[in-house]
């Protein structure tokens, strides 16, 4: 029973960290239509920056700045936002497919850098001893698990509220206008390039933040965590939950992580140890099947896109109705 509780908390905390990352992708794809196929790279940047900032000093690599965890998360988000802005500035003015190629390339390069820049990233072994929130509770597994779950849930909630606030603000309205008719928006003095770049960087920030929070929860990171599989997972989460819907992104994170974790358990029980590495590709198959099933039954995802309306649009007051133009 107690095991179940702490496993449940562990599972949900992990799932919610994916929800944060998925919220970031929703800003880029769901709200703005920007096709980022390098999600893993931006998540990795957030995770590594936060790890380097917060770990204690060590002889094996440069850095270990021993900063507070909150600063690490902020740094991770800002680093990923900066990288997104850079990639976006180079490619967003070009045709849409260039963004896909560039983000994919960026993710590959980032992975290689993590693998080879041993003096900072620890190379293939990665970075361990990343401080975990509520680390002093670690002796009591349940309290530790629950505290982390609450923290991650708060992070999801705050991210959700801030992003909802933004898509309902005049800024979000212009973003929608650009998506509906770029020429008309431009003729009204809005710069599609600027708004897209901002949305891309904002999405990158959220992905980096999610990556950082996840890294601190697990406690160690390595380049292998940030392979294209991660990008595939996050995309599946968004599509299954419902692109263009913030709640869908959160739900998708939890559901797909659930399928992933369960199929992982199944594989480890059904297959002998020597076949497990290969059998684990069945996990990807499982997500693929789930994806197909959802696309067949609910093409717009479980929750689907919501109609967003701006705030401040109260009904017209009576004295407003009589006036000359």
């Amino acid at each position: 029973m107690i095991d179940l509780l702490s496993y449940g908390a562990f599972f949900l905390t992990m799932a919610l960290s994916y929800s944060v990352i998925c919220l970031g992708l929703n800003v880029q794809w769901g709200q703005t239509g920007l096709f980022n196929v390098g999600v893993a790279g931006f998540v990795a940047v957030g995770a590594y920056i936060s790890a380097v900032l917060t770990t204690p000093e060590t002889a094996e690599r440069l850095g270990g700045f021993h900063m507070p965890i909150a600063l690490g998360w902020l740094g991770g988000g800002l680093g990923a936002a900066f990288l997104s802005a850079l990639v976006g500035a180079v490619t967003l003015r070009l045709r849409a497919d260039y963004l896909a190629i560039a983000t994919f390339g960026a993710a590959v390069v980032i992975q290689l850098v993590l693998l080879n820049l041993e003096t900072i990233t620890g190379g293939p072994f990665g970075i361990g001893f990343i401080p975990r929130p509520f680390g002093d509770l670690a002796t009591n597994a349940n309290a530790f698990g629950l505290a982390n779950l609450v923290l991650m849930a708060v992070l999801v909630l705050v991210t959700y509220l801030v992003l909802e606030h933004l898509v309902r603000s005049p800024w979000g309205r212009v973003l929608r206008a650009i998506r509906e008719d770029e020429d008309a928006a431009r003729a009204l003095g809005k710069s599609p390039e600027r708004f897209r770049l901002q949305a891309f960087a904002l999405g990158g920030f959220v992905m980096g933040l999610g990556g950082a929070a996840q890294a601190h929860f697990i406690g160690f990171i390595a380049p292998d965590n940030y392979l294209p599989t991660l990008t595939f997972q996050v995309w599946t989460m968004l599509i299954i939950g419902g692109a263009g819907n913030m709640r869908g992104a959160i739900l998708g994170g939890v559901l797909v992580w659930g399928i992933w974790a369960m199929s992982g358990n199944l594989v480890s029980q059904l297959f002998p140890a020597e076949h497990q590495a290969r059998a684990s590709s069945l996990q990807i198959v499982m997500i693929g099947v789930a994806l197909c099933a959802v696309l067949l039954m609910r093409p717009r995802g479980i929750l689907g896109e919501v109609k967003t309306l701006s705030r401040h649009l109260g009904p017209r007051k009576p004295e407003d109705t009589v006036r000359e133009g």
């Binding site: 606030h165 800024w171 003729a187 003095g189 309306l309 401040h312």
Partner: protein, 262 residues
């Protein structure tokens, strides 16, 4: 709807404006000036180059040669955004509403310099955002009243008829407070009852609000009623200009139009 005051120079002036599409000269050396508070008609048969001319004026299409000045400032190489900033706005021949946004939201999108449209403002300046937005909503509702769309403010723009879309586009454009309006066939495809009202609103904007308006129109009768001066374009060039009555009697103009009909 305030009007910028005190510009002695013509609000809009072009010299030798040209545009070719792979060798084909769609607009070929057009020099034209729009006077302050004038309602100038730009007419001509289909394919004469009127819309191409507008696209260059509005900054959505680069010109091949020639220059464009707004209130005496050369804006030839600048984008649509700067031109809106200088007080010039355009409507499209085929209206471009944002279909899945409400009528009111469509109009609000025309507002300029909104705190809430900056990411920083939207995050950190809630008070200013609310004030700006409140003022914008008031103004947008005033414009919707003026353009007879108030009863539709909460509807998605996708449900509007062709004529209502033209009105919506005009409202959205006026939201930016331009003093120069480029209107591309505001009456095309509009049913007769709405047509009178659109024409009436254009005249009001011109006479009561002092807007300088360049109006593309295919329909000579309508131009005759609205404009005191027209420029006739054919095959990318200026064919004639003057009072509508005189121009419609010009044999060259008649030939250009008949040629189009044949």
């Amino acid at each position: 709807m305030t009007t910028r005051q005190g510009h002695a120079l013509p609000p809009l002036q072009t010299t030798g404006l040209s545009r070719s599409f792979s060798g084909f000269k769609a607009v070929d050396g057009m020099s034209l000036s729009l006077h302050k508070s004038e309602l100038l008609g730009l007419i001509g048969p289909n394919g004469a180059g009127k819309t191409t001319m507008f696209n260059m004026l509005a900054g959505s299409l680069p010109s091949s040669s020639g220059s464009i000045c707004i209130h005496g400032r050369d804006v030839t190489g600048q984008d649509a955004r700067t031109r809106i900033g200088h007080g010039m706005g355009r409507s499209f021949q085929i209206p471009k509403p944002f279909p899945h946004m409400t009528v009111l939201e469509n109009v609000l999108t025309g507002a300029q310099n909104q705190t809430g449209e900056r990411l920083f403002g939207a995050c950190f300046q809630p008070g200013r955002v609310r004030r700006d937005e409140h003022a914008a909503v008031e103004k947008a509702r005033g414009l919707l009243d003026f353009l007879l769309l108030s009863h539709l403010e909460g509807q998605m723009a996708a449900v509007l008829s062709g004529g209502q879309r033209k009105l919506l586009e005009l409202a959205r454009l006026l939201m930016a407070d331009p003093d120069i309006l480029l209107l591309d066939e505001p009456a095309a495809g509009v049913n007769p009852s709405l047509l009178e009202q659109i024409m009436d609103r254009i005249v009001t904007l011109n006479t009561q609000h002092g807007k300088s308006i360049l109006l593309i129109e295919h329909n000579m009768q309508m131009v005759g009623r609205l404009c005191s001066r027209v420029v006739v374009m054919a095959q990318g060039r200026e064919l004639a200009q003057g009072r509508p009555d005189d121009v419609t009697r010009d044999p060259d103009v008649i030939r250009a139009y008949l040629g189009d009909a044949a």
